[in-house]
C-alpha cells in the first residue's frame, strides 16, 4: 500500500507493506538513521520520536498509523545541522557515552523541558523512565535535563 508520512516537515511517500513499522519507515524509507532500534518491544526508547508533539516509541507503531500526523525525529529537533538546548547541554556535560540512546534522551528531554511544570530531579527521573542508558548510571543525564528544564 502507499504510505505517506510527514517527517521533520518533509513529505515521504512510498509503496510499502501494511505491516511496516514506523521506525523502519523513518530509517529505511526516509533514510533518517538517528532513530535507533534497541529492543523492538518498547523497553528502551532508542526509537523515540515526537508524534504531533507527543513522545512515542516508533517501534510500537505501524507506519500507516502515523499518516496525517507531524513526526519529529532527533534530526528535526533544531534548525538545520544544529542542536537544541537539551542536545547542546547533553553534549557539553558529556552526559552520553556510547551515544546509541541519543534519540531517546533528546526527544524525551526536550518534551520534559517544554511541557513539565515545577521541575525537580524526581520529576525528571520519572519522566526519563522509559528510556534506557546502559552506560552512564543516568546521573549526568538526569542532572543535565533537570537544569535545562528548570531554565526553560
Amino acid at each position: 500500500m502507499k504510505i505517506k508520512l510527514n517527517i521533520n516537515g518533509t513529505d515521504y511517500e512510498s509503496e510499502e507493506e501494511p505491516r511496516m513499522l514506523l521506525v523502519d519507515f523513518i530509517r529505511d524509507v526516509a533514510g533518517l538513521k538517528g532513530t535507533h532500534v534497541g529492543c523492538e518491544t518498547g523497553s528502551c526508547g532508542a526509537c523515540m520520536v515526537l508524534l504531533d508533539g507527543m513522545p512515542v516509541k516508533s517501534c510500537l507503531m505501524l507506519a500507516v498509523q502515523a499518516e496525517g500526523k507531524k513526526i519529529i525525529t532527533i534530526e528535526g529537533l533544531s534548525e538545520k545541522n544544529g542542536l537544541n538546548k537539551v542536545q547542546k547541554a547533553l553534549s557539553e556535560k558529556k552526559a552520553l557515552q556510547c551515544g546509541f540512546c541519543a534519540a531517546g534522551f533528546s526527544i524525551i528531554g526536550t518534551w520534559i523541558s517544554e511541557n513539565e511544570k515545577n521541575i525537580d530531579d524526581k520529576k525528571v527521573k520519572e519522566g526519563l523512565a522509559g528510556v534506557v542508558c546502559r552506560c552512564s548510571g543516568y546521573d549526568t543525564i538526569i542532572k543535565t535535563i533537570t537544569e535545562v528544564a528548570k531554565n526553560e
Partner: protein, 670 residues
C-alpha cells in the same frame, strides 16, 4: 565539547545497522527452540550440512588434553542450548527474511536439560564424546591445615547476567574483488579478523575489519560468534553484502552472558579479627561450549580471591562445568566482581560472628608492605588509602544509616600490551588505538596525551574507529585496560613523532599540522602491582514501598592513578556502580525448567532505568601513579566490582538476614 557526541546528538552516528549497500541481503538465523535435543530433521536454509565449521579458541596449547568442546557454527545432530544457531536464511527484504526463517522446519527428540552446576556434576555428559561435564579443573594457592579458633563456611552465588548493550550485536560482510570487508560493532577488530581468518581459512591480507560506531558492549562484542562466520561465508558465496542485526530476544538467548559463578568457602581466623586462611571451591557454569576465557575463569577468580588483604593461607579448587545454556562470556568485570563479592561476603560473615565492626576487620587485614598472595597476586600496602577513604566518606555517619562497605582491587587486563597509531593528515591528527572504543570517552585521554606530548590543540585531534588496514596489530578494549595500555602505546607513539618533528625543525603546532608525519607503536607490557587500583565503596539501602529493597545512595572513593579525564572517569564509575547495584536487586538471566530464558524483552532482564539510579557520591583520587609513563590505572569495571558486596551488605543490615546469593531472593523479605 566532543565532536563524536555532537554527531550522535544530531542523529549522524554510523552504527552497524546504519551501514547499507545497494543489493544488500538480510541474514536471519533460525535457532533451536529446545535447550537439549537430538536434531531429527532440519529442512530449509543453510545448515551444518553445507557449512560444517566450528569456532576457534585462542589458547590452542592449553586446550590439548582437556575436556574441551568448541561451539559449531551451526548445530549438527544435537542442539545443546536454547537459541543455538541451526539454520540461516536471507532475503533482500528484512521482513521477508524473517518470513523465510519461519518456513525452516526443525524436528527434535527432546533430552533432559542440565541447568545448574549441581545438575552438571551429577548428570551424564551433555557432549557424547566427553567422560563428564567438567570442562577443566584448577588448583590455586597451596593446601594448608590450620588450628584456627574460628572456622566459618558459606556458599555464595552470582547468577548469570546479560551484557545487554543498548545496540545489539551486528555485522555487514561484503566480499568484493577477492577481499572480505567486514564492518562490525565490536570491542576489537583484531579478534574478529583473527577469528574469521582462521575459521574460514582466509589469508590475513584478504580480510579487512572496520569498526562501526559501537553502541556499548560490556564484554559481549569481543569474540567471534557463529553469525559472523555465517555472514562472511554467505558474502563470499553470493558476492553480495550481507547484513545481520541481532534482535533483543536473540541477545537474551544467544549472546554470551557473564557470571554464573558459585563459591563454597571456609574462612579461618583468630578471635580478634585476624584472617588466617581461606579455602574452598569455585565453580563456574560455562554453558554448552567452552572457550579459554570461560573455562579458565575459576582460576582467575581464585587468583584474586585475597583482594587487597594479607591472607597467608589460600587453597582454592576451581571447576568449570557444562550446562545446557548459552556459552558463557565476559561481562563487565569478568571475574573481578565474583572474587570481590566472595571474599567481602566472607569477611562480613567473620566480622559478624565476632561482633566486630566489618571495616575494622578489613583494615586489620591489610598488608604493611608489598604482599604476595599464595595465589601469585602481588598487592601494594593500601592501609593509608582505605583509612583516608573511610574518613572522606564519613564512616561514622554511614554507620548510622546502616551502610554496607566493601574494599576491593581492580586488576587491569594489561596482558598482551596494546598498539596506537598517529597520522597527521589534512591539518588534523588522526589516532587509531588497538583497543576499539565504544565511546567510553577514550577520545578525552587521547586528546590530552597528544596535547601534552606534541602541543597540538585538542580540537585538532580525532580518535578514529578501529580499522585493521590502518593499524595492523592490536588487542582490544576490555578488562579496564584502555587508559593504561592504549594510553601507554599512544604516549610512546607521540614521543616518537615528537622526535621526528624536532629533527625536521618544526616548532609551531601549525607547522606540525601541515606535515604528513605518522608514527606507530606497540607496547608489550607486564602487569605490576603499581597498576592495580584500590576501591572503597559504600551503599545505603531502603525498603521501597515496604516490600522492594533499593539502594538510595552509593558512595565511591576510587583510586584511578593519574586521572586522564575526570568527566570520563566519573561516567565510567557511575555507570558501573548502577550495573553492580542492579545485579544485587533484579538483574539476572534466569532459565525456566526446560532451559528457555525466562525474559523475552529488555525490561524483563531486570536492567536499571532512571528511577533506579541512586544518589551518587563519587570521589576520584590517586593513590600513586602506575608505572606507565602517563601514570594511569584502570577504571572501566571499578563500579561493577565495588557495588555488589556493598549493596548486598546494606540490604542485609536492614533485613537482618544473610545475603549470599545474587540477585537477592525476595522471599528473604517476607
Amino acid at each position: 565539547m566532543s565532536e563524536r557526541t555532537e554527531k550522535f546528538l544530531k542523529g549522524k552516528g554510523n552504527f552497524i545497522d546504519d551501514i547499507t549497500f545497494p543489493d544488500m541481503l538480510y541474514l536471519e538465523i533460525v535457532r533451536s527452540r529446545k535447550a537439549h535435543a537430538k536434531l531429527l530433521k532440519v529442512k530449509g536454509g543453510l545448515t551444518a550440512d553445507n557449512l560444517d565449521l566450528t569456532l576457534i579458541s585462542t589458547g590452542e596449547s592449553y586446550r590439548k588434553g582437556k575436556n574441551y568442546e568448541v561451539e559449531p557454527v551451526l548445530a549438527k545432530e544435537k542442539v545443546l542450548y536454547y537459541g543455538q544457531p541451526v539454520s540461516a536464511v536471507y532475503d533482500k527484504d528484512r521482513y521477508k527474511a524473517k518470513d523465510l526463517a519461519e518456513t525452516v522446519e526443525i524436528s527434535y527428540e527432546e533430552l533432559k536439560p542440565v541447568l545448574t552446576i549441581e545438575d552438571s556434576l551429577s548428570s551424564k555428559p551433555i557432549h557424547d564424546s566427553k567422560k563428564d561435564n567438567i570442562v577443566s579443573s584448577f588448583e590455586v594457592g597451596k593446601k594448608f591445615s590450620l588450628g584456627s579458633k574460628i572456622k566459618l563456611s558459606d556458599e555464595l552465588f552470582m547468577e548469570r547476567v546479560l551484557p545487554n548493550p543498548l545496540e545489539t550485536r551486528g555485522i555487514v560482510a561484503f566480499y568484493n574483488s577477492g577481499k572480505l570487508n567486514v564492518w562490525i560493532s565490536t570491542q576489537s577488530v583484531y579478534s574478529i579478523k583473527n577469528g574469521l581468518t582462521r575459521i574460514l581459512g582466509l589469508n590475513p591480507e584478504d580480510i579487512n575489519v572496520y569498526q562501526s560506531d559501537t553502541g556499548g558492549a560490556f564484554g559481549s562484542k569481543s569474540a567471534v560468534y557463529p553469525e559472523y562466520v555465517i555472514a562472511s561465508y554467505l558474502s563470499i558465496k553470493t558476492k553480495k553484502p550481507i547484513k545481520w542485526i541481532e534482535s533483543r530476544e536473540e541477545h537474551i538467548s544467544s549472546t554470551r552472558p557473564g557470571r554464573g559463578a558459585k563459591a563454597q568457602l571456609k574462612i579461618y581466623g583468630d578471635e580478634k579479627g585476624k584472617i588466617e586462611g581461606i579455602e574452598g571451591k569455585i565453580l563456574v557454569d560455562v554453558g554448552a561450549f567452552a572457550d579459554d576465557l570461560s573455562s579458565t575463569s575459576p582460576s582467575w577468580i581464585g587468583y584474586q580471591i585475597t583482594g587487597p588483604y594479607m591472607i597467608e593461607n589460600v587453597f582454592i579448587e576451581g571447576y568449570s562445568v557444562y550446562t545446557n545454556k548459552a556459552p558463557l562470556g565476559p561481562y563487565r568485570g569478568a571475574g573481578r566482581p565474583e572474587a570481590t563479592f566472595f571474599i567481602e561476603r566472607m569477611i562480613d560473615l567473620y566480622a559478624d560472628y565476632l561482633g566486630l565492626d566489618p571495616v575494622d576487620v578489613r583494615l586489620k587485614n591489610l598488608p604493611e608492605k608489598l604482599f604476595e598472595s599464595p595465589t601469585g597476586l602481588k598487592v601494594l600496602p593500601s592501609k593509608a588509602f582505605f583509612e583516608e577513604g573511610i574518613k572522606k566518606l564519613n564512616y561514622a555517619e554511614l554507620k548510622k544509616n546502616k551502610a554496607g562497605v566493601s574494599f576491593g582491587i581492580l586488576i587491569p587486563a594489561v596482558y598482551g600490551g596494546e598498539s596506537a597509531k598517529i597520522k597527521i593528515e589534512s591539518g588534523a591528527v588522526k589516532v587509531w588505538l588497538g583497543g576499539n572504543a565504544h565511546w567510553q570517552r577514550h577520545e578525552l585521554f587521547v586528546k590530552r596525551i597528544i596535547k601534552e606530548v606534541l602541543g597540538i590543540p585538542e580540537d585538532k585531534v580525532i580518535l578514529m574507529n578501529g580499522n585493521t588496514s590502518e593499524l595492523e596489530k592490536g588487542i582490544g578494549t576490555w578488562g579496564s585496560r584502555s587508559a593504561i595500555t592504549a594510553g601507554y602505546a599512544l604516549y610512546k607513539a607521540a614521543l616518537a613523532l615528537k622526535e621526528k618533528v624536532e629533527k625536521m625543525g618544526l616548532k609551531e603546532p601549525q607547522q606540525v599540522l601541515s606535515s604528513e608525519l605518522s608514527s606507530e607503536y606497540y607496547e608489550n607490557m607486564q602487569l605490576d602491582p603499581s597498576m592495580i587500583s584500590f576501591l572503597l565503596t559504600a551503599a545505603i539501602a531502603e525498603i521501597d514501598e515496604g516490600i522492594k529493597p533499593a539502594i538510595k545512595e552509593i558512595l565511591a572513593y576510587y583510586d584511578v592513578g593519574e586521572p586522564l579525564s575526570s568527566e570520563a572517569i566519573y561516567g565510567q564509575i557511575t555507570g558501573g556502580l548502577l550495573m553492580g547495584i542492579q545485579e544485587v536487586l533484579t538483574e539476572a538471566l534466569k532459565y525456566d525448567e526446560k532451559g528457555k530464558p525466562v525474559a523475552e524483552t529488555l525490561s524483563a532482564t531486570g536492567i536499571a532505568y532512571s528511577i533506579n539510579a541512586p544518589k551518587y557520591d563519587v570521589q576520584i583520587t590517586s593513590f600513586g601513579r602506575s608505572s606507565a609513563p602517563h601514570g594511569a590505572k584502570g577504571v572501566g569495571e571499578a563500579g561493577t566490582v565495588g557495588a555488589p558486596p556493598a549493596s548486598a551488605r546494606a540490604i542485609e543490615n536492614l533485613i537482618k538476614k544473610r545475603i549470599n546469593s545474587l540477585p537477592i531472593n525476595l522471599d528473604l523479605l517476607a
